[in-house]
Amino acid sequence: MATTRMPDAIIIGGGLHGLSAALHLARAGLKPLVLEKDYPGRHASGVNAGGVRRLGRDFAEIPLSVEAMRLWHGIADIVGDDCGFIRCGQVKVAETEAELQILRDRAAQVAVLGFDHEEIIGREELLRIVPAISERCVGAMICRADGAANPFRTVMAFRRRAVELGADIRSGSPVAHIERRAGGWSVEAGGARFQASVLVNAAGAWGSQIAGLLGEAPPLRIDAPMLMITEPVAPFLTPVLGAEGRKLSFKQFENGTVLIGGGHRGKAEPGLNLADTRLGGLRQSAATVVALFPQLRATRIVRAWAGIEGVTPDGIPVLGPSVASEGAYHSFGYSYHGFQLGPVTGRIIADLILHGVTDLPIAPFRIDRFSEFHRTGAWREPA
């Protein structure tokens, strides 16, 4: 075993949340260490759809999402790269009056909470923004300042800036052992031993496994959300598009290719580090696209893929201090929608470590909140 190294904090997981924690700690002058079992951005952080969305968030997430969006709009100031972020808007269409009413009610509730980012538009405005949409659509919810970014580029930018500020990032370093020692933690990973007073679990789909080593594994389902991409077609869509009544996330890139997602699941094999696509869900995605955009019927799909993601029973993350041990913090289980939150979750973790408090409401994300689930075993669909 190599000599013991003593960073200021050990962060397990080199995805966006781990790197964001490293970046914010390094900004405060600490020397964090990131232990990544593969390479940064290998899993959900690097291969997701890149949606930067406040629209339709779980109420508990809204304050974090709104603050994250503020950070996204100045992301280049934080990481020195625009991360491919574009403010193209996010739209969720309603195909029936009933669906539009659900969206109206939702926007009203969000307004009561004091937020004004979710706006309802009628058919005319929808057709102006998305001229190619099927005329059956009666209206939509829109967040005009939402957008999309390039996921892997974002991970690379966070990584680069964290390293510039003094973070140490170790790829190919799966954690073999964690031990609580007087005044801190001892972690064995990649054939080396590290000691620090603070431990951060940002292990994504493997987050519950790491929490288990601290004696507090929460329920976490391992999913393999799937995405498809088409050949380039003439520009027809500016915002990221979803639908109230269907599983859909739909985005046309500058090069004309169209990304199709929406949460249909493939088969995850976290032990093998693999996620396989499944035909049934891909077929449903294709059917949804063809229903909303009949002119895409003859467009070819050139690639499909799946990533590995951890999902909690209530579809919101575990974010905050460990309950079982002092000096440990969790940031995982983002349940299909962690990418947009990335810039702010690291700041929350850094605030907790440095000051013991954060100015954002994180009580709903406590790790010991799952007693109800343990009683009923019921999973909720992620928002």
Binding site: Y39, G41, G46, F152, R153, M156, R221, D223, I229, T230, E231, K247, G263, H264, R265, L274, D276, T277, R278, L279, G280, G281, L282, R283, Q284, A286, A287, V289, V290, L296, R297, A298, T299, R300, I301, V302, R303, A304, W305, A306
Partner: protein
């Protein structure tokens, strides 16, 4: 349209046809799928419809392919032509498209006979219109007797180069020059395998005969050429290269290039099989047992898709896979299996005697695996070799990460034209083995399909869909 079959064979070339023949003879029900409208594979492409003149031009080895087609008339054999297979699952469900309609076929056993594909031969200018592969030139000749616009230059390495040259000469097509890129050192490496090759010398005799024919026709023949560069603005106008320190420039309207073939691995890759790097042939091949078994229950590989050995060897490996299937289905006993296996393996060994010599001789020149910076490597996304090297310098470790850095392998060809080159460039830049760098993760659809096709498909598998607990 059938949705179930006892044995599905993907690819109706020599391996697939031979496997089907043996299985049908034993009373099995076989479905043969091929991307082309007619059976024969690349080697015997167009064989069923070739007239006497075309058979004369293409030679006796080609004409001999016709006898393999008899299996299509056997009872129990169904041939589905024009079928693009775009998914094979571990559960042996095949998804394929015919004429814009996607279908599903469940098989008790699958034999993938996906054959060979030409190696990419990247050098500056290889993407100009007028530059084609030798294989593409031969397909035009086999299917429609088409001859390319002159002046014509053939460049590269490997037996197919001579074969096509001889076929063109027989068809009356003038050839300006053959520019051979086989490195001089390959001859020295190959010579030690010559005694073994002489025992199975039919290949060598054929090669020498082709060379003699080319020489008699007075075709200029440059050997040991390096530094290839296709020149031209809107299309190819000339090939420049260096031989023994002297740079030459040959005007041409058509430049046909070739540097050998490699197994078509899209299906075996998509099944996550283990692949070994073959240093001599400079390509990967899947790990297989004696009967082409993949380690996945009921899925076999036969023919060049399991490792390049040629059409005649493919017949024997097709039969071996069929014997494996018959034994697994308990249609033959262990003794019968051993006896028949031994006979096929003997024949295969005899076929393969010239292989070490040919492989050593035609190991591709290093400049096509690690081409100059300005060379476009990924044609779909127009990514150059220099860009790939930049990605490595920025911390890119392998081809899958390279996609995130700059999109190589993300176009409609799904990495077929750039995969091996991107891996080789990254390995050379990182100074590690290509095995360590690995290959693109290949996932279905293996060939592009339309949204409409997929949306209208009948999906049979109950475990599909979005039920996470299924």
């Amino acid at each position: 349209m059938r949705t179930e079959t006892q044995i599905a064979i993907i690819g109706a070339g020599p391996a697939g046809l031979a496997a089907a023949d043996l299985l049908a003879e034993a009373g099995c029900e076989v479905t043969l799928l091929d991307e082309q409208p007619a059976a024969g594979g690349q080697i015997y492409r167009g064989i069923a419809s070739a007239n006497a003149e075309r058979l004369r031009v293409l030679g006796t080895d080609y004409a001999a392919g016709r006898k393999l087609l008899g299996v299509l008339d056997r009872p129990g054999v169904t041939f589905i032509g024009g079928a693009t297979v775009w998914e094979v699952t571990r559960e042996r469900r095949i998804s394929y498209s015919v004429g814009g309609t996607a279908r599903s076929l469940a098989a008790r056993r699958v034999i993938a006979c996906t054959g060979a594909t030409e190696r990419p031969m990247p050098f500056p200018g290889w993407t100009l219109p007028g530059v084609m592969t030798v294989g593409a030139g031969q397909i035009l000749l086999k299917t429609s007797g088409l001859l390319p616009p002159a002046p014509l230059v053939l460049a590269g390495s490997g037996p197919l180069l001579y074969l096509l040259a001889a076929q063109y000469l027989a068809a009356g097509q003038a050839i300006s020059a053959i520019v051979e890129t086989t490195p001089g050192g390959n001859w020295r490496n190959a010579l030690r395998h010559l005694p073994g090759a002489l025992i199975g010398n039919r290949y060598l005799r054929k090669g020498l005969m082709l060379l003699a024919r080319i020489r008699r026709a007075g075709v200029a023949h440059y050997r040991g050429a390096t530094g290839l560069r296709a020149e031209g603005t809107s299309r190819v106008e000339a090939l420049t290269f260096t031989v023994r320190g002297r740079t030459r420039r040959l005007p041409c309207a058509t430049l046909l290039i070739h540097t050998g073939v490699m197994p078509n691995l899209q299906i075996t890759r998509s099944l996550n099989l283990v692949h070994d790097w073959d240093a001599l042939q400079q390509c990967w091949r899947p790990q297989l047992d004696d009967w082409g078994g993949t380690g996945i229950d009921g899925i076999h590989v036969a023919g060049d898709g399991g490792g390049i050995a040629g059409a005649e060897a493919a017949v024997h490996s097709g039969r071996l896979a069929a014997i494996g299937c018959l034994a697994a289905l308990e249609l033959i006993g262990p003794e019968d299996r051993e006896r028949r296996t031994a006979a096929e393996r003997r024949a295969l060994r005899a076929q393969n005697r010239a292989r070490p010599f040919l492989d050593a001789l035609y190991t591709p020149a290093p400049e096509f695996l690690d081409p100059p910076d300005e060379t476009i490597v990924c044609r779909c996304e127009e990514v150059t070799a220099g860009k790939i090297r930049e990605f490595v310098d920025l911390g890119c470790l392998g081809p899958n990460q390279a996609k995130s850095f700059g999109r190589p392998g993300m176009g409609p060809c799904q990495g077929r034209y750039c995969g091996i080159t991107v891996s080789a460039i990254i390995a050379a830049r990182r100074r590690v083995s290509i095995d360590e760098v690995g290959y693109y993760r290949i996932r279905p659809p293996l060939k592009p399909i339309t949204l409409g096709e997929l949306a209208a498909m009948d999906v049979l598998d109950e475990s599909d869909g979005d039920d996470p607990d299924a």
